[in-house]
């Protein structure tokens, strides 16, 4: 098993060198987005409105974290099922999204969009949330607080472990 340390945002060359099943230790900024945030992002795109963060420079992490206890950087952090985002993902990829982190398989349409646009889908280990929380060095609510755990959180990670699932 190849283990590669990578710093976000990734270059086309970084992605080209990866193989399915490789382990990646990520460093950089992730934005969380689940079902409701995806719906909002796509509505903004359809209206031609500005997104709260630039898609092409951001990595999306399908995650609804648990609340942050006092004295800690973050709560429990882990991926949710990626396939629920499948209906929104091709639109986001066509608008510049390159990096997605979740768990489980993707639809054939998403896989095709990933291949055509040289994007990358990584899986993190579902349920390994205490372990993944160790990789988080900063964590903040970024936007859409009304969505509660489904809001967009911005987090900086170091040596965040995931595996190459689709490229």
């Amino acid at each position: 098993m190849q283990i590669t340390k990578l710093t976000l945002p990734l270059t086309a060359m970084d992605i080209a060198h990866l193989r399915i099943g490789d382990k990646v230790l990520l460093e950089g900024t992730l934005f969380t987005a689940r079902d409701q945030a995806h719906q909002r992002l796509c509505r903004l795109l359809e209206r031609g409105d500005k997104l709260p963060f630039p898609l092409d420079a951001s990595a999306l992490f399908y995650c609804g974290p648990s609340p942050v206890p006092p004295g800690r950087i973050c709560g429990a952090i882990g991926p949710t099922t990626a396939s629920r985002m499948d209906k929104y993902t091709p639109q986001l990829i066509h608008n510049g999204l390159k990096i997605m982190i979740g768990k489980g398989e993707r639809s054939s349409q998403v896989k095709e969009a990933i291949r055509q646009n040289h994007a990358l889908y990584l899986t993190a280990i579902g349920g390994a949330s205490a372990l993944l929380a160790r990789s988080v060095t900063s964590f903040e609510l970024y936007c859409w607080e009304d969505l509660g755990p489904e809001a967009v959180y911005r987090m900086v990670v170091n040596d965040f472990p995931c595996y190459v699932a689709c490229r």
Binding site: E105, G127, P149
Partner: protein
């Protein structure tokens, strides 16, 4: 009539949630250790090792094992000779869930309206509570924190009564294959066979409370449990859908009598977090 005070139930439920949300069921931990030793796939072994490390960190640092701290599901076996003082049982349980969620900084995962998706309840209530009046003077609460990923991939099928056992095995194997990595394997499978539409589903959920290493007392049903386990572990789905032989750790079946026309089969998928316990008051 034996009286059980609301405060006693409340405190027991708060303590139970605290106990199962951090760390890992010792039986699941042993099963993961055993699976890790037997696993030949390198990536799958890496995943299993990460889960074991996660369990240790979760326990020592009191960070939830999984960020999806689940829906609270409770089977309440209420002794006919028990009287609860201080409020209706469901209210007592929901108050305890509120307190446990707030105290432990657990994720509120319940929305008020399943259609509009608006209005997170904020405190993870209501718990889903199934009541049964049983003989005796005890109150038994079987408590689980059930995550959404595995629950979403659960399934029910109304088979014809003449269906062969192979059809049951095929249906369950297909369900597990369709679930892939989405349900967070290694899984525990709770299976309900017989009864009717809702009984099969309830039995499937209830089967998840059977201790991991136990098998059905009826040898014929126990043999079916083993065949299902072998079948799902031969799929190559593996830990987190990353391949290998560790797709499920255990299979438990509960059967009920059923109509001559029917053979309902339900399978409730449980992820490796498998947070459950039982309190008897």
């Amino acid at each position: 009539m034996r009286i059980v005070a609301a405060s006693k139930i409340h405190n027991s439920v708060v303590t139970a949630i605290d106990k199962i949300v951090f760390g890992l069921d010792p039986l699941v931990r042993s099963a993961l250790e055993k699976a890790c030793q037997a696993e030949t796939d390198e990536v799958a072994r890496d995943v299993l090792n990460a889960l074991l490390e996660n369990a240790s960190i979760s326990e020592s640092e009191r960070i939830p094992y999984c960020q999806d701290t689940g829906t609270v599901v409770i089977f309440a076996g209420i002794g006919a000779e028990v009287s609860i003082s201080g409020g209706p049982l469901d209210d007592i349980i929901n108050d305890a869930v509120r307190e446990a969620w707030k105290m432990n900084y657990l994720r509120p995962s319940i929305v008020n309206c399943p259609l509009s998706r608006s209005g997170n309840c904020g405190d993870n209530t209501p718990a889903i509570i199934h009541h049964r009046i049983v003989a005796g003077e005890r109150l038994r609460l079987s408590i689980a924190l059930k995550g959404g990923g595995a629950e979403n991939m659960s399934a029910i099928k109304m088979l014809p009564p003449t269906a062969a056992e192979e059809e049951i095995i095929d249906f369950i194997t297909e369900t597990v294959v369709k679930a892939g990595g989405k349900a967070c394997p290694p899984l525990v499978l709770g299976i309900g066979i017989g009864g009717n539409f809702e009984t099969a589903a309830l039995n499937a959920k209830r089967a998840l409370f059977v201790p991991l290493n136990d098998s059905h007392p009826d040898e014929k049903v126990a043999a079916l449990e083993r065949q299902i386990l072998d079948s799902v572990n031969a799929t190559g789905i593996g830990a987190q859908g990353m391949g290998g032989r560790t797709t499920a750790l255990s299979v438990h079946i509960i059967t009920s009598p059923c109509h001559i026309a029917s053979l309902p089969v339900a399978v409730n998928l449980q992820c490796h977090a498998h947070r459950h316990c039982e309190i008897i008051l």
